[in-house]
């Protein structure tokens, strides 16, 4: 049962602020129509993660957290957005927009989810000994929100973005509840995410050439009835 050394004034407030940003971004993603905007938001999300990880690393004084922060920066802020932008340009999907139905309702659902997530995380976070205890609820909220986003989206790319946002939420949960998973696992996860995105890239092109569109309503042929 280790306590943290070198308490750093204001760290937790900063972290809470960052967490709030994260939540804000998720809501923004929930309501954005333009695909490219979503990518940008995703990048911002990564940025916030990077900063928070740095903070946690600095306050907890764990070396490997710096690595994981660097990894975050590399993967979530630089590489993935670049790949996505590249794909969007190659697929000529810059101007793709979602036809979202009834944003207020979705927002309301999102709100309910957030409350639900807090309620869920409350008993758990009181057990947490990390300085970031209260952020678990937010992490969970981010996950659920991006889940909601995936449900509401109709385009392949946006769905993937939602998927990546969910990954971010997970990552945030990992850093906030426990000071990150062991390095090896982190690497594994990162690798998986990277490979996943590559495969998705391949998919986009295949889907594109088969259906000459990335709209998911083409992918509704396999059904019962």
């Amino acid at each position: 049962m280790r306590t943290l050394e070198r308490p750093f004034p204001g760290t937790d407030t900063a972290l809470n602020i960052l967490a709030a940003c994260l939540l804000l971004i998720s809501f923004a993603m929930l309501s954005r129509r333009r695909t490219q905007r979503l990518v940008t938001l995703l990048a911002w999300q990564g940025m916030v993660l990077f900063v928070s990880t740095l903070l946690v690393a600095h306050s907890s004084g764990r070396v490997e957290m710096y690595y994981s922060a660097a990894l975050t920066l590399l993967l979530k802020v630089i590489v993935l957005p670049l790949i996505l932008h590249y794909l969007i340009n190659r697929l000529g999907a810059q101007w793709d927009t979602e036809t979202l139905v009834n944003i207020p309702a979705v927002m309301l659902a999102g709100l309910v989810l957030v409350i639900f997530a807090f309620g869920l995380a409350q008993p758990v976070s009181v057990l947490a000994t990390t300085i970031t205890r209260h952020t678990l609820g937010i992490a969970l909220a981010v996950i659920l929100l991006s889940f909601l986003m995936m449900i509401t989206r109709r385009k392949a790319i946006t769905q993937v973005i939602g998927f990546l946002a969910m990954e971010n939420g997970l990552f945030f949960a990992a850093t906030s509840t426990t000071y990150g998973m062991p390095m090896i696992i982190e690497l594994g996860i990162a690798l998986d995410v990277l490979v996943g995105v590559f495969i998705l890239g391949i998919f986009f092109f295949q889907i594109r050439e088969q259906f000459d569109s990335l709209d998911l309503h083409h992918l509704e042929a396999l059904k019962e009835d």
Binding site: P123, I143, L200
Partner: protein, 485 residues
Amino acid sequence: MVIEVLLVLTLPVAGAAVLAVLGARRRAATVNTAFSFATLLAAAALVVRVIRHGPVITGHEQFFVDSFNVFLVALTAFVGFTTALFSRPYMRIEQHHGRVSRRRLRLYHSMYQLFMGAMLMALLTNNIGLLWVAMEAATLSTVLLVSLYRTRASLEAAWKYFILCGVGIAQALFGTILLYFAAGKQLGNQGTTALLWTHLDAVKNHLEPRVLGLAFVFLLVGYGTKVGLAPLHNWLPDAHAEGPTPVSAVLSGLLLNVALYAVIRFKVLVAGAIGAALPSHILMAFGLFSALLAAFFLWRQRDIKRLFAYSSIEHMGIITFAFGIGGAVANFAALLHMTVHSLTKSSIFFSAGHASQKAGTQQMDDIRGLMTVSPTIGWGLLLGSLAILGLPPFGVFASEFLILTTAMRLHPWATPVLLLTLGIAFAAIFRRAQPMVFGETNAKRLPHSPALLPVFIHLGLVLLLGLYIPPALAHWFRAAARLIG
């Protein structure tokens, strides 16, 4: 690091690399088979070692072999080998029919090996984080296999498979994090100790119940998606129907097992922390619901591979139900059922694949009179279906016998559901299988002779398990049943 474990883990990966380099030469299929066979040998050696010296923990505790995963490792390696054996002529015929190009075969072979490696890793690792990584890897490697034909349907199936399982696996990761978090308070967050199943198992009674409850939900939803529990099952029939038959065989026969294995591993921990009641009831409910739903889906199928995909859902449901019941007998039965189901189901997919190759379609209404045109395929399909329907003296009957009798004793309320499920499933599958096997036909000859040796090896084993279970296997089953509690 114990050499056998090392071999079992590395051989498939090496195979993947070699095959990726080797490309689509004519010998690729043979090399694939060879590597699978080597893996099988390594697994056999591992089994022998376990029989001799008991459980193994190795590689800085990152890997372990106990009575729960040893037979699954053996089973996976074995079915992997037989499937490779089967896929050799099968894929050649597919190529001959022009459904796959030679470049795709390269992808196919190396991904196949990678998939095997991932599953073995998932089975052997002691580290729940690695377990997650391996499962994800398994998903990724099979996604490309499912979409191998590049048809619209296969792409759609692969996409759904990817998204659903990806999202699911993400939930599982969150569950893993929560577990790690809970364990940190006992085992400390330094290093990977808090992720090692053996250690978790040691302290499971002291883990924080509330967190474990949450974690279990996320893990169940996550890995349950891959098990194909309704209503998380929707990816399964599509992926099975649209991928190449060998892939369907390994998906049904192995991947579902591995996912279920993960679920049960976590169930053990959670039951230790919050008591067995809650997880048991959740599992039973999931199992019954999946089985019943699958039965009704079976009733309406026209596509042969979809049919047997749904039957996999049904059987996974039954197994989950049995694990939910718990206790020595039910767990024993569930483990036995895992084994015989994967053997039977893969053999069915083998013969179903050749049957649909013959008829040139997967529509069952157009497949007729296999018994007359090629008796081996006909008998394979018929016996396989009868076996999977739980007719003795096949092994499926043995496990179902134990499950049903135990359920009848402990949870009589489940009886009507089970009766309905099994009755409808029987009628649904048999009314389709019979006309395919019997009657007149218009099928044409195949360009290459089908490889049905695996079919009859599998069926032979299933028959054996119905009448006689080797002591070692029985011992593992019993020990694992005790472990699962």
